[in-house]
Amino acid sequence: MRSQRKIRHEYSVSALADLSLDVRSRILITLLFIISIVTTAPYQLLMFLIYAGLISWGAALARISLVTVFGRALIVLPFSLVVALGVPFFTGGETVVFFGLELSIAGLWTLAGVVMKSFLSASTLVLLITVTPINLLMQGLRGLGVPVLLIDLLNLTYRYLFVMLEEAMTLRQAAIARGYRPKWLPQAVIVGRLAGTLFLRSFYRAENIYAAMRLRGYKQVMPSDALPKYEWTSIMMVVLFVFMLISIRLYLGCLK
């Protein structure tokens, strides 16, 4: 049993087989990369291509298909479009006529920038999450100074998230089976009753969880593996990555 667990653990850690980069460096690099994406001006299209290239390179190193990385990131597009689609119609300045619609050029650039930035940032995050198991990610965040209580709560929430989601879907399924076909707003009360039941179930579950935690010797803090020492080579990887990003942006004149 113990050996089985260890093998699985090692397997998941070495998902980024060729690099096996320290999780703290992974988090820092992801964060800095996203900050770089967000601070790039919309009309610097070459820079956005380079970002997409770097993400693809990371996915190739981790042996993950690009469809997974970019496909999962598509989820951000509906929000981006809903919020920003109106912008080209209402921003002033020079306009361009497109299929009989008068669109502001500045507004179109804002729209394009927002869509590219949110999509690439989400892809970067998907890459990190796909190659890093959750427990390792939480250890890394803890190593970077996130308070232990918050980490424990995050771990517990993530653990029971899918349980509660399944309960919620079961409740909704049952309501539909009883003929719930919502059409107008006051029917939100029915959703509210489902949610009330859901909360009571989560409350009773918390009591059981606490009993189980206490039986296993819970004392204020959840037990967790100690992180390995933060090697200077891993820190150097972050420095090198930042150096690379800055030099590319300087070379292309993309650093404001």
């Binding site: 992801t30 996203i34 900050i35 967000v38 601070t39 989820i75 951000v76 929000f79 981006s80 919020v83 912008v87 209402f90 804002t110 920038g113 927002v114 590219m116 949110s118 940032s121 989400a122 995050l125 998907v126 999450i129 308070p147 209580l149 918050l150 424990d152 709560l153 995050l154 517990l156 929430t157 993530y158 029971y160 998230l161 349980v163 509660m164 989601l165 309960e167 919620a168 879907m169 919502p182 059409k183 707003l185 006051p186 939100a188 009360v189 959703v191 509210g192 489902l194 949610a195 009330g196 859901l198 909360f199 009571l200 989560s202 409350f203 918390a206 969880i209 606490y210 935690m213 204020q220």
Partner: protein
């Protein structure tokens, strides 16, 4: 309302991240003390966060074929208290951003500010403020939950629109009315769900509510209550005035429903010519203080004074009602 990466400018994200981190640190410090005495609250916080997450997946219709979803900030505050609500919303937002690409990493601070601090802490403050002036009991409690839920959704969406406009992502004249109008409707659903959840909890065990109306009515200490009411009214007043001053200059350039209709139908000129005298001599013609030159500042000032007047009027009204009800209860 979950803002992705790339929508908000760096300075706004940094500022809101600083606010979010300090508020979360304080909340964690408070919860650490609380969970030291009551360690069973640790899994309860986590399952409540999981509950809020799951409940956000239950869509409700808002008409026109579209649907809204639950936010849960005020519900969490009613169930677990304000600081726990902030942490619960933070947990939900972090997990949504990290694992579901719902809301950006660089915009996390801004999202926590909108939904956790303004939605959760601000919503809880509103809930207590409203409850302080309503009769003690289940009905008053539910009313406060409903009103605060509705207002919290609107406040969070208005702040979201202001942030988007300040980042020059979408113009305020469009973003603010659109966001507030949509969320004024979604807020009704939020209020209905919040009330249903709280009712279910009261029916099962009212003890698990953070401050349940049953204990409030049995241990009624008048002086303590008065002091608390004072604090809450002061805080509510500050919040309302801030909103009036900060938001009214932006909002006022957009005609309100009646003015819009009046303009379209052409009866605004007619009304103006007939009532010119009284119109000019009203206290705030078109909500601006005439003596001040700058339009934005003038409108803000009018908002400030107007809110103050409404507050005073409301206060007098409530005092009258309270006196009458206390006379009745003595008799």
């Amino acid at each position: 309302m979950h803002i992705p990466d790339g929508f908000i400018s760096g300075s706004i994200n940094t500022a809101s991240a600083v606010i979010a981190v300090s508020a979360i640190s304080y909340a964690l410090w408070k919860l650490k003390k609380e969970t030291y005495d009551q360690p069973h609250k640790v899994p309860l916080l986590a399952t409540t966060a999981a509950f809020v997450f799951a409940a956000q997946m239950l869509n409700f219709p808002i008409g026109g074929g579209t649907s809204g979803h639950f936010l849960g900030a005020v519900t969490a505050a009613a169930l677990m208290g304000p600081w726990a609500a902030l942490i619960i919303m933070t947990l939900v937002l972090i997990i949504q951003a990290l694992f579901f690409a719902d809301g950006g990493i660089t915009a996390l601070g801004t999202n926590i500010l909108n939904m956790g601090i303004v939605g959760g802490l601000g919503g809880c403050m509103l809930m207590r403020g409203i409850r302080a002036v309503l009769p003690v009991g289940k009905l008053g409690y539910l009313t406060s939950v409903a009103l605060a839920s509705w207002a919290s959704v609107i406040l969070a969406s208005a702040l979201c629109a202001v942030e988007l406009a300040a980042s020059q992502t979408s113009p305020l004249q469009i973003a603010l009315p659109a966001m507030v109008a949509t969320h004024a409707v979604i807020g009704i659903g939020e209020a209905l769900i919040a009330c249903a959840v709280v009712t279910a909890v009261i029916a099962a065990h009212s003890v698990i509510l953070y401050d349940c109306p049953v204990t409030v009515s049995t241990h009624h200490s008048h002086s303590h209550d008065l002091k608390r009411t004072g604090i809450v009214i002061g805080a509510g007043m500050v919040l309302a005035l801030t909103l009036a001053v900060l938001i009214s200059p932006f909002a006022s350039s957009y005609p309100d429903g009646l003015e819009k209709v009046a303009e379209d139908k052409g009866f605004i000129e007619q009304a103006a010519s007939e009532e010119q005298v009284s119109w000019q001599h009203s206290l705030f013609p078109d909500y601006a203080v005439g003596a001040v030159e700058h339009e934005g500042i003038s409108t803000g000032l009018a908002g400030f004074v107007g809110t103050g007047l409404v507050f005073v009027a409301g206060f007098i009204l409530i005092k009258l009602v309270q006196r009458r009800s206390s006379v009745r209860s003595e008799a």
